[in-house]
Symmetry: C2
């Protein structure tokens, strides 16, 4: 019985399997089609539609009004109806290397591309994705190089009185050698969970590629769930398949991420072969996770030599908001003084110049300047979006543990 | 800085983050809404639509014609337009405990439910899912019980001259004790890959629940990729984000799954704390994976005490198809004789009575009867579908390693 027999059988039974197994047959068209010159054609079958549009982060931005003022949002483009009810749009120019998101809008109804199974969830929104030229600096694609492992497992948090789900990246070779490794704790934002950095952030691809190129040290990356009221990402705990919300939903938490972060460090350092010292611990996060990173590193002021604050004001009080403890800022600045005295190798702040938190970040740095707290500031274009956070991770990881 | 401050900030910045971060804002409606009596309401916003339908595997089946004759496929139901362009359908009666799939059809265009982020991919089709009452026997939901770990990693296959991706479930406690464990090798069908049993099969939930209830022995479950022309699932290798196809696509394979399965056993037995004997090895698979299981267990005729063949004829030649080696059947029957002589504890064949491979399964068993090859046959209702394969795993796992 040889392989050709099997392939032949596979073809024969395809129709029948599709019929019984999948709910709906596939379509024969290709979408998106990435052309050799990196222009991209999108196709959608809708014979009865009056108008089919595309919305995506590669289209010219449109301005929208929010409570933080005017901001950029993804633009739209009209598809043209061709033969057999197939609508089509081709980008007028090649797209730059990047991971892009899009959806169709059919007579006003947003819908995913039924010909593209690659999707990412951001909070409660699922969008299709595609990657041009393996993404920024070629770091987002999967290459024929050694790959790390990605494990979803559960750890015990006595501080939260819960078993909690956590995602761990171990570098290539971890399972087959006896080396010890440095650790990056990588924290998500208010809309995320322990799946966010792996799915939206392309963490395992970025680390695999950086390590293979010799640009980053092999390291373990720990991605916990920063919403302490939730044991796990939506659908992954006994809370069931609830609709995801910003902030992780309105359940009551037993304690804060900051106050219970020691449980995570303890779990990692007793379950993995890691170097257990400050020089080999880094923490970074985006938005809420950036605020977590600044506060956790100040709460444990001699724990991390590397701190990364992406798209968030390190001095959280500079962001505004009601309900603030009036002493919060002075207490935090005192902690920063201790952190400064203890020393650290890198305090890296990154923000996009159209980010709605940009002013808070600038204000934070002024306050840090006031106590001569050293940091490195990286300003990018763009706003509070995953394309920036993938870039920041790609730039931050190579600076660690050197 | 306390938790209430954080929650408050979360609410304030939600709008802004949604605007910059996600491509499209969420909708305020709930769909699906599972009522206390297990009826379910589906909702879809489409103010301009003329007709909105639902298709799902919980609706009365419709008959369709295939090359294997008339078969059941998912039925349709019409939604009714309510206020503000919200269309709605409520199931006329409660749904039985199960994991269900569905999509909407808006003026003839299939679309996913934008209010439900829970989806599964089957070959190239993505559908929304929901679970009633934690599924069959309550085994598909996530409970507050100890959880195993799920790791995606890569193994070396000298026989395929490739690094290949593999999914491994280790039972609760594996990381914190020194016990050795039995191993179940669990193989997907022609449309699947190393993600299929975890995503569509709910393997980690089923095993966690069976183990917590004392119904299955703690075991390691190994889920390799059975398409030897592919190193990994679509999107997870250097082949990029190609459109998935039955049979894994038409690339040329270096060797067959059967002939190179030893690479997988060797990898598992040198990388995990496993009991390395026949009494502690099981193999099972669905459809193509069932055929793999019968042939691998006959190729390594003293390797497995437990063989599970789900929705596939164990004597593959009974299925028909062209291009067959005329000696294939007699060679296979000789191997079965050796397997019979060597002995085994359980050879479990399961099939649905409307499966398009049903006749081949019956024919196979006649041939096995002819050489007095013992097996246990489990006939279910239904066809070649994941609801059956989840049930078969739920019934097969408890019989292992006892």
């Amino acid at each position: 019985m040889n392989k050709f027999f099997i392939i032949s059988l596979g073809l024969i039974i395809s129709t029948a399997i599709y019929a019984q197994q999948a709910l709906f047959g596939g379509q024969a068209i290709v979408s998106p089609e990435i052309h050799p010159d990196n222009t991209v054609t999108f196709r959608f079958v809708a014979p009865k539609a009056i108008k089919v549009q595309l919305t995506g982060d590669f289209l010219p931005k449109q301005k929208i009004q929010t409570s933080f003022g005017e901001m950029d949002a993804a633009g739209n483009a009209d598809l043209t109806e061709k033969e057999n009810g197939v609508w089509e749009f081709t980008t007028p120019s090649p797209l730059q290397p990047e991971l892009y998101s899009y959806s169709f809008i059919v007579d006003g109804v947003k819908t995913s591309d039924p010909n593209n199974v690659y999707q990412i969830r951001d909070v409660a929104t699922v969008t299709n994705i595609f990657i041009i030229a393996d993404g920024r600096d070629g770091l987002y694609g999967v290459k024929d190089i050694p790959h790390g492992s990605v494990t979803r497992r559960w750890y015990d948090s006595p501080g939260l009185q819960a078993q909690r789900r956590i995602t761990i990246y171990t570098p290539p070779g971890y399972e087959s050698n006896n080396q010890t490794y440095p650790v990056l704790y990588l924290l998500h934002g208010s809309g995320g969970d322990e799946e966010a950095w792996i799915a939206l952030g392309r963490t395992s691809q970025i680390l695999d590629n950086l390590i293979a190129q010799g640009k980053a040290k092999p390291m373990i990356v720990v991605m916990p769930n920063g919403h302490t009221q939730n044991p796990a990402a939506p659908g992954e705990s006994s809370h069931g398949m609830f609709k995801p919300a910003m902030g992780g939903g309105q359940r009551e938490a037993v304690a804060s991420m900051e106050d219970t972060f020691g449980d995570i460090i303890k779990f990692v350092e007793s379950n993995y072969r890691v170097k257990k010292n400050k020089a080999n611990r880094a923490i970074a996060g985006l938005s809420m996770g950036g605020m977590h990173s600044s506060r956790i590193s100040s709460l444990y002021p001699n724990m991390f030599d590397y701190v990364g604050v992406f798209s968030a004001p390190p001095v959280v009080t500079t962001m505004g908001g009601n309900n603030q403890d009036p002493n919060a800022e002075s207490e935090f600045m005192k902690k920063l003084e201790v952190q400064k005295k203890n020393g650290y190798k890198l305090y890296w702040i990154a923000c996009g110049n159209t980010d709605f938190l940009y002013n808070g970040v600038i204000e934070s740095m002024k306050k840090m300047d006031g106590i001569d707290f050293k940091y490195v500031y990286r300003e990018s274009g763009g706003g509070h979006t995953w394309d920036n956070w993938r870039i920041y991770l790609s730039e931050y990881a190579p600076m660690l543990f050197k």
